[in-house]
C-alpha cells in the first residue's frame, strides 16, 4: 500500500489505476479517501474566461456540422465536445451519467427504456428542448435512407415514443443493458426538431460563429447554457493542423493552447519544454493482426495460437509505441473498460510454445504466413510487421510482410486478405466492441470468427442487468477470444496530447481523446 501511495505521488499512477490495484489487493477499505482526493485533485477551482485555441488533427475540408457525418477528431471535439449534448455522457471514471436526460430506467428485460429529460434546457436558437426534439434527433440516424455513421448502433431501436413533454420511451428489438452507453455515441447529439443539423444549432455550452471545414471552427459561449459548472471559456477556436510538426511548433510558439496526437518520437522533448504539459490517456485504442478464421491455414486454432505465442508484446510496446501504451492480451477489452478480465493470465512471448502448436497443426518446417500491412492501418504498422517477423523467426515461423498502398487500405485489404494489420478505436462497452468485431455476422467481424458459446453469451450478457453475473459472462468471453479468437492483439496505444501549463483540467476521461472529446466543455484557464 505504501508503494501504491508513492506511485501516485510520483504521478506514475493515476487515481483509477490506484483504485484498481488497491481493489486487486483487497485493501480498498484501508484507503483514506480524503487523502486520495486531496492529491488527485490538487488543482485550484476552475475559472471563467479566455479563448481556448486547439490545434487539431483529424479535420478535413469535407467536414460538416451534421453529427451524422462525423468521422474524425475535429468535428467530434467541435460538435460533441463544444456545440452539443447527448442524453447521457461518460464521466472521467467511464460511467454513464445524466446529461440532457435527468434519469432513466428500464423494464426488467431491458427492452423498454424510459428517459426523463431535464427541464428548461435551451437550444442556441432560443427554443426549449422537449421530447419531440429528442425523437427527431435519434430518428435522423434511423431508417432505410439514413447515411449516418450511427445507423448500425441505433438499428436495435424499433420504436421511439413520447410520454408528455419530458419523457421519451425507447423500444428495443432485444434487451440491451447498455442503452445509456449507446446514447453517449458522438453521432447522437440532440438538435431542435425540423431544423437542419448543418446549421449547428444544439444545446451545448458554445454557439457556432464561424465554420470553415478542415480549417477553422470558432464558437462563443452560450450564455444560457444549462450546466453552470461547465464550458468555462468565452471562446473556442479549433484550427485544423494536419501536420504534426506544424502542431508542435504552433504549441511551442504559443499560437495554440492545446494540441492532440503528439508525435511519439517528440514526446520526451515536449515533456522537457518549459510551460507545457503532456497528457496521457490510456483508453480503448488498440491495434490487431486479424486472421480470417474461415480461411486456411488460420482455420486451425493451433496455427492461431502459434502466431499469438510468437509475438513479443513488451518489445512491441517499447519499440512501436515508445512505451506509451500497454500490452494486449489477445482480446479487445482494455484495462480501462468496466469488465476487463484482470484475472486472465497475460500471454507472453514463448517461441517453444509457438513451435509446439505449429507442430500440432502439422506445419512444423514449412510455415510461411503473409501479413498484409500499411501505414494506413496504424502509425508504425509496417515497422510492427517487420518486428513481428524477426520475433517469429526465433520460433521457426516465417512471416512475409507485404506492404500495401495506404489509399484504399480499408476497402481492398482489410476484411479481404487472410491476415492484416488493423486499427481499432475501441468501444466504451464490451457489448459494442464484441458485437461489432467478434460476433458472428458482426458488420466488422474481421476475423470471421464464429464461436457458438461466445455468440450465445453475447446475447445473454447484453440484457443482463445483474452486474456480477454480467461481469462473469464478459470475463468468459474475453477468455474465449484470448484462447480461440482470430486476432493477435499485441498492444493498446495511449492517446497523447499536450497543452500549455495555463490550461487546467480534472481527471481525464479515457473514452476518447482530449478528455473524451470534451476538452472545450470541461477544461479551463488557470488564474
Amino acid at each position: 500500500m505504501k508503494r501504491l501511495q508513492h506511485l501516485l505521488k510520483e504521478g506514475k499512477m493515476d487515481r483509477r489505476q490506484l483504485l484498481q490495484a488497491a481493489a486487486a489487493l483487497g485493501i480498498t477499505a484501508s484507503l483514506d479517501t480524503t487523502w486520495l482526493s486531496g492529491i488527485a485533485r490538487a488543482g485550484e477551482a476552475p475559472k471563467r474566461g479566455g479563448r481556448l485555441r486547439i490545434g487539431i488533427s483529424g479535420g478535413s475540408t469535407t467536414d460538416a456540422l451534421d453529427p451524422a457525418n462525423t468521422t474524425d477528431m475535429m468535428m467530434q471535439v467541435f460538435i460533441y465536445g463544444a456545440l452539443g449534448n447527448n442524453l447521457v455522457e461518460i464521466d472521467a471514471t467511464g460511467k454513464p451519467v445524466p446529461e440532457l436526460a435527468e434519469s432513466w430506467e428500464s423494464s426488467p428485460d431491458a427492452k423498454t427504456w424510459t428517459f426523463t429529460l431535464k427541464k428548461g434546457v435551451e437550444f442556441h436558437n432560443g427554443k426549449t428542448m422537449d421530447s419531440d426534439d429528442v425523437i427527431y434527433s435519434i430518428n435522423h440516424h434511423r431508417g432505410a435512407n439514413s447515411k449516418s455513421g450511427a445507423k448500425t448502433i441505433v438499428k436495435a431501436i424499433t420504436d421511439i415514443k413520447k410520454d408528455g413533454k419530458n419523457k421519451v420511451i425507447f423500444e428495443l428489438e432485444n434487451g440491451n443493458a447498455d442503452l445509456p452507453f449507446i446514447m453517449t455515441d458522438y453521432h447522437l447529439v440532440i438538435g431542435p426538431k425540423d431544423v437542419d443539423f448543418n446549421t449547428g444549432i444544439f444545446t451545448g455550452g458554445y454557439k457556432v460563429e464561424n465554420f470553415e471545414p478542415g480549417v477553422r471552427a470558432y464558437a462563443r459561449r452560450h450564455p444560457n447554457y444549462f450546466k453552470s459548472d461547465r464550458a468555462w471559456f468565452d471562446e473556442i477556436e479549433l484550427l485544423g493542423i494536419s501536420d504534426v510538426n506544424a502542431r508542435t511548433n504552433a504549441l511551442k510558439t504559443g499560437q495554440i493552447d492545446v494540441m492532440n496526437r503528439c508525435e511519439l518520437k517528440a514526446v520526451h522533448l515536449l515533456k522537457r519544454s518549459k510551460g507545457l504539459q503532456v497528457m496521457q490517456q490510456n483508453g480503448y485504442k488498440h491495434f490487431t493482426f486479424a486472421m480470417r478464421c474461415d480461411t486456411a491455414p488460420f482455420g486451425n486454432n493451433d496455427v492461431r495460437l502459434a502466431l499469438k505465442y510468437a509475438i513479443d508484446r513488451e518489445q512491441m510496446v517499447k519499440t512501436i509505441l515508445r512505451g506509451y501504451g500497454v500490452v494486449g492480451n489477445d482480446h479487445p477489452i482494455a484495462p480501462s473498460n468496466r469488465y476487463f478480465a484482470s484475472e486472465l493470465p497475460q500471454r507472453t512471448y514463448d517461441p517453444d510454445k509457438a513451435k509446439f502448436h505449429l507442430k500440432k497443426a502439422g506445419m512444423a518446417n514449412s510455415a510461411t504466413f503473409t501479413l498484409h500491412t500499411a501505414e494506413a492501418a496504424f502509425v508504425g504498422a509496417v515497422d510492427a510487421g517487420v518486428l513481428y517477423r524477426e520475433q517469429a523467426a526465433k520460433a521457426g515461423i516465417t512471416i512475409d510482410v507485404s506492404r500495401e498502398p495506404n489509399d484504399g487500405y480499408w476497402n481492398n485489404v482489410w476484411m479481404k486478405k487472410p491476415w492484416c494489420a488493423v486499427f481499432w478505436a475501441g468501444r466504451p462497452t464490451e457489448d459494442l466492441m464484441f458485437s461489432t468485431a467478434y460476433a458472428k455476422g458482426g458488420a466488422w467481424n474481421d476475423t470471421f470468427w464464429d464461436n457458438a458459446r461466445f455468440n450465445e453469451l453475447l446475447v445473454q450478457a447484453r440484457s443482463e442487468l445483474d452486474e456480477t453475473k454480467r461481469r462473469s459472462m464478459y470475463v468468459e468471453m474475453q477468455r474465449l477470444v484470448h484462447d480461440d479468437g482470430g486476432a493477435v492483439v499485441p498492444m493498446f496505444s495511449s492517446d497523447l496530447s499536450a497543452a500549455s501549463e495555463k490550461v487546467g483540467h480534472g481527471d481525464l476521461a479515457v473514452n476518447a481523446e482530449l478528455d473524451g472529446f470534451k476538452a472545450p466543455e470541461r477544461w479551463w484557464f488557470k488564474g
Partner: protein, 323 residues
C-alpha cells in the same frame, strides 16, 4: 477578306484565346476521366472504416453516383460553363463558396510572393549578368541554386526554427481569417512567402542572367561597346528589353506554380489555400470539388501563359507589327 481589318495583334489574341478554350475543354475531359479511374468513391471514402454495404448504397443513391458517367459529365460541364460548379458531395456546401475563399487566399499568397520574388530575381539576374564571372555572380548563383535544391518543406522548417522558435518574430502557422486586416495578413504570411520566394527566385534569376548573356554576344551589343557606351547602360537599355521575352515566360511559369503547386508549403504553414482543398477532396473522392479545382488550376495556367505570350508580343517590335 473581312479579317484584314483587324489589327494583327487582335487576331493573334483571338487565336490564342480560342486555343486556350480548346485546351480547357480537353482538360475538363481528362479531369473527368481521371477521376473515374480512381478506385472507390465518396461513399466509401467518407464513411471510411464505418462503411457498411447499406450505408454505402444509401449514400450513393442520394449523391447520384449510380448514374452513367457520360450523363454526369454533360451535367457537370453545362453547369460549369454557367459558373455553377454544383455542391460538395461531402458537406452539401456550394463548391463556388468552398473554393472562392481559398482561391482568394492562394492568389494572395502568390501575389505577395511574386511582389517580392520577381523584382528581386530580375535585379539579381541583371547584376549577375553585369558582373559576370566575378565573385558576386558566383555567390548569387551558388546561394540561389543551393536554396532551390533543398525541398520546400526543409526550407520552411529551417525558417520556422530560426524566425519563429529561436527568435519569436513571426508566427509558425499562417492561419488567416476573412476578418483580418491587410497588415495582419501580411504579417501572418511572411514566413510562407519568404519560403516560396527563396524557392522561385533562383529559377527566374538564372533565366534572366542567361538571356542577357546570350544577347550580350550579339553584334549590335558589340557595336554599342565599340561606341564606348557604359556597360550598365548597355545591359539595362540595350540588352534587357530584348531578353524580356524568355524572362516573361519563366515568370509566368513560376507564378502559375505559386498559385497551383504549393500544397506542401500550405500544409507546413497550415495555410488555407486551394492546394490543401484539392488534396483533401481527392482523398475523400469529393468529385465536384476536385473537378472545379482542376479546372481552376488549368485556367490559371492557360491564362498566365496567354498573358506571357501577349506581353512578349507587345515588347517585341518584330512580333508587334509583322509585315
Amino acid at each position: 477578306m473581312q479579317q484584314w481589318h483587324f489589327h494583327p495583334v487582335v487576331r493573334l489574341l483571338a487565336q490564342r484565346i480560342g486555343l486556350g478554350l480548346l485546351t480547357l475543354w480537353v482538360i475538363s475531359l481528362l479531369i473527368f476521366v481521371g477521376i473515374q479511374l480512381l478506385p472507390g468513391d465518396l461513399a466509401d471514402a467518407v464513411l471510411g472504416q464505418s462503411a457498411t454495404p447499406e450505408t454505402v448504397a444509401a449514400f450513393r443513391h442520394e449523391l447520384k453516383l449510380d448514374l452513367p458517367p457520360h450523363i454526369r459529365y454533360l451535367h457537370w460541364l453545362s453547369g460549369a460553363v454557367e459558373g455553377d460548379f454544383g455542391r460538395s458531395l461531402a458537406n452539401q456546401r456550394p463548391v463556388a463558396e468552398l473554393i472562392g475563399w481559398r482561391f482568394g487566399n492562394s492568389l494572395f499568397l502568390a501575389g505577395v510572393t511574386a511582389l517580392i520574388a520577381v523584382p528581386l530575381a530580375v535585379v539579381l539576374g541583371l547584376m549577375a549578368a553585369l558582373y559576370r564571372n566575378t565573385l558576386f555572380d558566383k555567390l548569387i548563383s551558388t546561394s540561389t541554386l543551393s536554396v532551390i535544391s533543398f525541398p520546400e518543406f526543409f526550407v520552411a522548417y529551417i525558417l520556422i526554427a530560426l524566425f519563429s522558435v529561436q527568435l519569436p518574430f513571426f508566427p509558425s502557422i499562417a492561419s488567416i481569417t476573412p476578418d483580418m486586416g491587410l497588415g495582419q495578413k501580411l504579417y501572418a504570411v511572411f514566413l510562407p512567402c519568404l519560403t516560396l520566394a527563396l524557392v522561385v527566385t533562383a529559377h527566374m534569376m538564372r533565366q534572366t542572367r542567361a538571356a542577357i548573356i546570350n544577347i550580350l554576344a550579339s553584334a549590335y551589343i558589340e557595336m554599342a561597346n565599340l561606341k564606348g557606351l557604359k556597360r550598365m547602360r548597355i545591359v539595362v537599355l540595350h540588352a534587357f528589353p530584348n531578353a524580356l521575352s524568355p524572362v516573361i515566360n519563366v515568370i509566368a511559369l513560376n507564378l502559375a506554380y505559386l498559385v497551383v503547386g504549393v500544397v506542401i508549403v500550405e500544409v507546413v504553414f497550415v495555410y488555407p489555400g486551394l492546394g490543401q482543398l484539392l488534396v483533401d477532396s481527392v482523398a475523400k473522392r469529393d468529385i465536384p470539388v476536385v473537378q472545379a479545382s482542376g479546372l481552376i488550376f488549368a485556367t490559371t495556367y492557360v491564362l498566365l501563359n496567354l498573358l506571357a505570350d501577349i506581353l512578349s508580343i507587345l515588347c517585341n517590335p518584330r512580333l508587334r507589327s509583322p509585315r
